[in-house]
């Protein structure tokens, strides 16, 4: 059930956002990859779904915020097991850097 819901979220929301972003992206080779520091919301730690939605809408637009909101709203589905995985310090994969 959980995996099915994740599949719906991934293919129903994340994939379309990615395709739309790809459409807009222009190929280029900048002279430098040193970019100005983002700083937008570095200290943000949302406490509610509404705060999270507003944060991502401001930074990434409505589609992204909606995908984030739906995923985060699924918290009750994941919460118990997530807490346990965090407590154990479970790694996503032993073959990858911990970037997730």
């Amino acid at each position: 059930m959980t995996r099915l819901w994740l599949r719906v979220l991934f293919f129903g929301l994340v994939v379309p956002i990615g395709l739309a972003r790809r459409w807009r992206r222009a190929p280029e080779r900048p002279e430098t990859m040193w970019l100005p520091v983002d700083g937008g919301g570095a200290d943000a730690a949302p406490k509610t779904l509404g705060e999270a939605f507003a944060f991502y809408r401001r930074r990434r637009g409505l589609g992204f915020a909606a995908a984030a909101w739906l995923l985060l709203a699924s918290r009750p589905l994941f919460r118990t097991r997530s807490a346990e995985r965090l407590r154990r310090g479970e790694r996503i994969s032993p073959f990858i850097y911990d970037q997730f």
């Binding site: 990859m33 040193w34 570095a42 995923l71 994941f78 996503i92 990858i96």
Partner: protein
């Protein structure tokens, strides 16, 4: 004012307590849980820090500072999955529940886990690294460069530290990451990501940089200012569950080495190549940062700053007059940075650097055990031991080292960061040609190609190494002094790969790498008087102020924390003697006593 800094949930979770601006305690969770690179919430480390600060519980803490911004990190993760879609569902299915369930709601998690209701502050990952590099440094103002795998979006950044402020100016962003590039090669060479990177660095001198051109033409598009883009289609890390795959193997022309497969010349060449590319990137960045900031001192942090070969290249090129590297440069150090940010940025507290010494206290920030506690441990488990006064202990240990014994050395506060610096160390005679393989195979149970680091009296370092400044944290390499080296024959010069290791290259062969370098620690008396005096006793006895100093652990285990951990490690390895505070343990006496009652079983029962 007491501030608790926390880094957690990636690798190397840690906690730090800053008390009125002074780093009172810092420790990594792995040392308590005995799980290498433990990423779980650092509950044990927090408890230790509170105890060290004289607090019964977390209610005495004025502020908790977390080392990164969960909201920005989650944004990057979701955007990355979107970019790579429709690939990446398996990784998404593992990652998304963790974020939705707990990780995004970090403030709530911290409050629930600690039972804390005071203020919680969040700082960007690279700002925490930058703060960990600048605030404890000896400098009043300095350029700051941070490089690691990735934090939120940034994979590297630079800025300026001035007085009690540190500000970042520019950053590199995911997926273009020097840390991830190095980790991809670490994975492809059959070592574990997040912990095997220093093995790649140790392997590099055996090879030739045959693949450097390939890396720079097909994997890394390097700009003049050191910034770069990675050819992400060649890597698997953005959405896969491994760093590299078939596309990467095609580029470098070899499949991933299986972890237990023999190391071949091509693996050494690949290690050398990525090290050369890393050096080049770091040098270009350092030059750019110097020109952008106009400052003559540099502070470094982030996991890449543990690459002492690249650090040393920055020094050798004289890009900056002075370079200081945070000893816990990886994510553990983020706990220190976050706590110091809260102290200086939120509370406006001033710094008073003296321009000479840092405030990391030799990185000796972890738990210590009194002589009485050690005695109780030994006696309650009926472990045979002798008690010596300070002078006798130093003389006896120096003599044992001179006789070729391997000695476990457990004294005072545990080190914070990945290096053993004379508090939880295994020591040996650096003059012995056989010591490197003895230590590697009988004590550390690890690959025989890896060199050991020397600890040397700071005041005599220049007599033995080509060095003109202290290196207290083993974060720089130096060549063994010319008049201490031994000329090699043409036959020896013609050797390849691991065979190079058999050649005696200096008066201290056990710490001399095949390229004549050593990853040295200079020991100053005002930082670690007991360890300094041991080196002095050894120098008085032998004329050599250098010993092997390697971490007190075996392969794949964290460095020992308690006397019990130390004793357990001592009994499981071929170590000859163990010095626990003022007590000396002889392995032969333990073996004799264990016939009646095996001490390690007694320890097990006493846990």
């Amino acid at each position: 004012m007491k501030i608790l800094g926390i880094s957690a949930f990636y690798h190397d979770s840690a906690a730090c307590l800053v008390e009125d601006g002074r780093i009172a305690a810092a420790a990594q969770e792995e040392r308590f849980t005995r799980r290498k690179n433990d990423s779980s919430f650092p509950a044990h480390a927090v408890r230790y820090c509170l105890r060290e600060g004289g607090l019964d519980d977390v209610r005495g803490v004025d502020c908790v500072a977390f080392y990164e911004s969960p909201a920005l990190r989650f944004e990057r993760i979701l955007a990355t999955f979107a970019d790579a879609a429709p690939r990446g569902f398996d990784a998404f299915a593992r990652v998304a529940p963790l974020w939705a369930g707990e990780k995004l709601w970090m403030e709530d998690f911290i409050r629930r886990t600690l039972g804390y209701d005071g203020p919680v502050r969040f700082y960007e990952h690279h700002l925490s690294h930058a703060a960990s590099a600048f605030f404890p440094s000896p400098f009043a103002e300095a350029a700051v460069l941070t490089l690691d795998g990735v934090g939120e979006w940034a994979t590297g950044s630079f800025g300026v530290g001035r007085g009690s402020r540190v500000e970042l100016r520019r950053e590199l962003r995911y997926p273009h990451s020097l840390g991830l590039l190095y980790s991809a090669f670490t994975h492809h060479l059959g070592f574990e990501v997040n912990s095997g990177e220093y093995k790649v660095m140790g392997l590099a001198p055996y090879g030739e940089p045959r693949y450097a051109e390939t890396i720079l033409s097909r994997l890394v598009d390097l700009r003049a200012d050191g910034s770069f883009t990675l050819e992400t289609s060649a890597f698997d890390y953005t959405t896969g569950l491994a760093m590299t795959g078939p596309a990467f193997a095609d580029v470098v022309g070899m499949p991933r080495r299986e972890p237990d497969a023999p190391l071949e010349q091509r693996h050494m060449d690949l290690a050398r190549s990525i090290q050369e590319v890393t050096n080049e990137i770091v040098l270009r960045m350092a030059r750019y940062v110097r020109s952008e900031t106009g400052l003559d001192s540099l502070c470094l942090a982030g996991g890449v700053a543990l690459n002492c070969v690249a650090n040393s290249r920055v020094l050798e090129e004289r890009i900056f007059d002075r370079v200081w590297v945070q000893p816990a440069a990886g994510d553990a150090g983020g706990a220190v940075g976050a706590a110091l940010l809260a102290w200086h940025h939120e509370h406006g507290a001033e710094r008073a650097p003296d321009g000479r010494s840092d405030t990391m206290q030799g990185a000796l920030l972890g738990p210590s055990f009194s002589d009485e506690e050690v005695r109780y441990f030994l006696e309650s488990h009926r472990i045979p031991h002798g008690a010596l006064d300070r002078d006798d202990l130093l003389a006896e240990t120096a003599e044992l080292l001179d006789r070729g014994a391997v000695v476990g050395w457990f004294q005072g506060r545990m080190e914070f960061g990945p290096r053993a610096l004379g508090a939880r160390s295994i020591l040996g005679d650096a003059r012995s040609a056989a010591m490197q393989s003895t230590l590697n195979l009988k004590i550390k149970f690890r690959e025989s190609f890896r060199p050991f680091a020397p600890a040397v009296l700071e005041e005599q370092a220049a007599e033995w190494f080509e060095v003109d400044r202290p290196s207290p944290y083993m974060l720089f390499t130096a060549q063994v002094a010319r008049d201490r080296t031994i000329a090699t024959t043409p036959e020896e010069d013609a050797l390849f790969g691991i065979d190079k290791l058999k050649v005696r290259r200096s008066e201290i062969p056990a710490v001399t790498h095949v390229d004549g370098s050593a990853r040295l620690q200079t020991v100053a008396r005002d930082v670690n008087p007991l360890f300094h005096d041991l080196l002095r006793a050894f120098a008085d006895l032998t004329g050599c102020p250098v010993v092997i100093n390697t971490s007190f652990n075996v392969r794949d285990e964290p460095i020992v924390c308690t006397p019990e951990d130390a004793f357990r490690c001592f009994m499981r390895t071929g170590m000859d003697y163990l010095v626990l505070g003022p007590f000396l343990l002889d392995k032969r006496a333990q073996v004799a006593a264990s016939v009646a009652a095996p001490p390690h079983e007694a320890v097990e029962a006493g846990r």
